[in-house]
């Protein structure tokens, strides 16, 4: 770490001149045979990998309209070239969204288009050889699938779709990434990304209950596997152990406590994150979603609420209904059972921010905002929430609701520069399966645009607190903030702000009975 040179933050964000191969390399650690096989992928690079890869590309383009259309439609206008935080932070031209896609597109052209088959040089069509595969592995693991490029593309071309497709092709030929695939193995076996078994989880929650009671004098519960609860809470497992995540979890618990609604977490499905999305695997993603459906059915809950996690919320909001029929419209036996069980008066699933926001609107929560008066808060829109989901079922609700929740709990809120928030938000630099130490240089450099915006807000508005609603953002910022001379503890959960200002009452038991 010490030898890594990090440039001082610029006063204004400038578009760097390209520096070829500045991020060339071997990419992140590769998954071992054992990890790969757990997910049903070949343990090692298969003998006829080129043939298998091309066949997989054909399958992908026939199954995903996005990939097919995006590969054809790009006109190389250059609109996306200066939009990726990894390009801005590293100046490697292969980190320009279009150039990253072109690694995949050039092979597509060579094998699937007339022009590429007969005039490869003319249209930049290339063979999938060893060098190309190395580039795929390196540069498709320098994409956090944050979709910022897609906001600016005149055809909505989403590099995330291409990088997911490429990662799936690589997995199918036996070239997988250690970090993502190891985590996926754990969730399939134990139920969360950490591989934290039920007894450990139970202990952690009991400790937290004690801690809250000691601090507040109120017995706030964090129930596990409670079959009589109304709400199943699914949250990223980082909330159980990491800082600052855990203070967010305490925040959820306090909100539930005040609401009087009974809730529980599940030891079987103790993970909201779904890394199946990062590796572009529909099947792996579906498996994760089915676990949550099973937990909801087993526990007999009438509502499902999702904690602060960016891509988890995208998967929950946009994909769960498709993958496992959580929502409405699915027709298999268990989906129908779940539809009967879930309360249609509420959106299913619901984000914890939506839940808290509703309570605020109804006047159920009381805040002592002065508790947060030492903070000047700004909000980092996490990429997957901002660009791949909604809240409150109102247009742009995913930008409005978190800010309203913060403002309900804090007196001082200010936004970062307009070009760096909401739909145009910069990724934290650690999303999409890149939150691993073997990619630390990329993570630090990729955080630069967000750090630059934060610095502007710090200088102009005295911002000293950065709030987020994503487990990856929180971990990533804790790690990279010091590299840019910020306080690593300035990153907090939105529900930590809620937690600090919420006025607790000790009448939860009577309330709970009323609402039942």
């Amino acid at each position: 770490m010490a030898e890594l040179e990090i440039d001082k933050l610029p006063t204004y964000l400038e578009i760097p001149a390209i520096q070829k191969d500045s991020m060339a390399g071997d990419g992140p650690f590769k998954a071992s045979a054992e990890i790969q096989e757990q997910l049903g992928f070949p343990g090692e690079k298969v003998e006829n990998w080129q043939q298998i890869a091309i066949e997989k590309m054909a399958e992908t383009t026939s199954k995903y309209r996005s990939v097919q259309v995006f590969l054809d439609a790009c006109v190389k206008c250059g609109a996306c070239t200066d939009k990726c935080h990894y390009y801005l932070g590293t100046a490697d031209p292969k980190n320009m969204p279009v150039a990253r896609q072109d690694l995949f597109r050039s092979v597509y052209r060579r094998h699937f288009t007339f022009a590429g088959k007969y005039f490869p040089k003319l249209v930049g069509a290339k063979e999938l050889d060893d060098a190309m595969l190395d580039d795929w592995y390196n540069y498709f693991h320098q994409c956090s699938q944050c979709r910022r490029c897609a906001v600016f593309c005149p055809y909505g071309i989403d590099t995330a779709e291409i990088s997911m497709a490429a990662r799936e092709v690589m997995n199918v030929i036996g070239v997988g990434q250690k970090y993502s695939n190891q985590i996926l193995g754990r969730i399939n076996k134990i139920g969360n990304n950490l591989g934290m078994p039920e007894p450990a989880l139970r202990d952690t929650l009991l400790d937290l209950e004690e801690e809250i009671e000691k601090e507040t004098g109120v017995a706030v519960k964090l129930p596990l596997d409670n079959k009589h609860a109304e709400i199943l809470m699914v949250t990223p497992s980082a909330d159980f152990f990491a800082e600052p995540h855990i203070d967010g979890l305490i925040g959820y618990a306090k909100v539930f406590h005040q609401s009087g609604v009974t809730w529980t977490m599940s030891s079987y499905a103790s993970e909201a994150a779904n890394f199946g999305m990062f590796i572009g695997s529909y099947d792996v993603m579906r498996k994760g979603a089915l676990r949550i459906r099973k937990a909801a059915l087993d526990l007999g809950v009438s509502r499902i609420v999702v904690g602060e996690c960016g891509h988890a919320w995208r998967v929950a909001y946009s994909f769960w209904n498709t993958l496992s029929g959580i929502g409405g419209g699915a027709s298999d036996e268990y989906a129908l059972k779940l539809q009967k069980q879930l309360d249609s008066n509420y959106p299913q699933p619901q984000h914890i921010i939506e839940f808290t926001y509703d309570l605020i609107q109804k006047g159920i929560l009381t805040f002592d905002k002065t508790k947060n008066d030492h903070r000047k808060v700004t909000f980092h829109d996490s990429c997957n929430v901002a660009r791949g989901s909604n809240m409150g079922d109102i247009e742009n609700g995913q930008f409005i609701l978190p800010r309203e929740v913060i403002k309900a709990a804090c007196n001082h809120f200010v936004d970062m520069p307009k070009a760096t928030i909401k739909a145009s938000t910069y990724c934290c630099g650690g999303g999409g399966g890149l939150l691993t130490d073997d990619l630390i240089e990329l993570r630090i450099k990729g955080a630069m645009p967000r750090m630059q915006a934060l610095k502007q807000s710090q200088e102009n508005d005295g911002v000293n607190t950065l709030a987020a609603i994503c487990a990856i953002c929180k971990s990533q910022f804790s790690k990279v903030l010091p590299n840019y001379d910020f306080d690593p503890y300035m990153i907090v959960s939105v529900h930590q702000l809620v937690s600090d200002a919420l006025v607790l009452s000790d009448k939860s038991e009577t309330k709970a009975e009323d609402s039942l």
């Binding site: 439609a73 609109a79 071309i157 087993d298």
Partner: protein, 254 residues
């Protein structure tokens, strides 16, 4: 010569129509298995319609992304539309309708057309990022369009007039299958040849962005996944076959 040219024109049209139709059918039939609308995502069908209109007519996203690219690209595309309308008159069988006779002034659209194309070419040459992503075909496409525009302008404004009677009867003849002699001016021949070359390469080039945009799932989807189930045929099949499935039992199974 004439026969060869006429054959080429029909071949180009045939390639274009069949090729683009096949592409459209392919896009149509390829399922979009997941809801992936990109922010700011509309929550209703009307919203999607408005978004698509803003993209197609105003290039809204491109405007957000790069003002120069937007400016050159937008004036080029609208100039192309005007010039296309003006050219309909040549091919119209029988008496040219009143409306098309009034499009004479559309010829001036060739100026913004050329300005737009030169601007786009300039960006490709001088902006290092755009230069990096450009293949030879990207330059050739612009040069082809510039050549078509320039040859047209030479005939319209620079007194290289072809025999207009012959032009009309040749163009009409293509439509009515009543083929007539080809005007012999080289500049006219070049204009026609390049224009039909452009038509021919439509389905095998990046010109597919034109049909493609309407099929782009990030732009054309309604953001309502929680309310309405979205599922593709192949995913439904997997579901019915219980390919990935977790058996449900009343007891928890850890």
């Amino acid at each position: 010569m004439t026969i060869g040219f006429i054959f080429f024109c029909y071949l180009a049209l045939l390639i274009c129509i069949i090729g683009v139709s096949r592409k459209i059918v392919q896009y149509w039939q390829t399922p979009a298995p997941l809801k992936i609308p990109i922010a700011p995502a509309p929550l209703t069908r009307t919203g999607v319609f408005m978004r698509m209109a803003a993209e197609v007519f105003l290039f809204k996203s491109l405007f957000r992304a790069s003002k120069w690219t937007w400016f050159f690209g937008w004036i080029f595309h609208w100039a192309l539309v005007l010039l296309f309308i003006r050219h309909l008159g040549y091919f119209w069988p029988g008496d040219t309708p009143e409306v098309l006779l009034k499009t004479e002034s559309f010829k001036y659209a060739s100026f913004p057309l050329i300005i737009g194309l030169m601007g786009l070419l300039g960006r490709r040459i001088f902006v290092d990022r755009v230069r990096y992503i450009s293949a030879p075909s990207d330059y050739l496409m612009l040069i082809l369009l510039i050549a078509i525009g320039a040859s047209g302008m030479l005939m319209t404004f620079a007194l290289y007039y072809p025999d207009m009677g012959l032009v009309y009867s040749f163009a009409e003849g293509l439509v009515t299958l009543n083929w007539s002699e080809l005007p012999s001016e080289w500049i006219f021949l070049a204009h026609i040849f390049l224009a039909f070359t452009l038509i021919a390469i439509f389905p095998i080039s990046k010109l597919l962005h034109a049909p493609g945009i309407f099929f782009s799932p990030t732009l054309n989807q309604v953001d309502n996944a929680r309310k309405k189930r979205h599922i593709s045929s192949w995913a439904m099949q997997k579901e019915t076959d219980k390919e990935i499935f977790i058996e449900q039992n009343s007891e928890k199974d850890e």
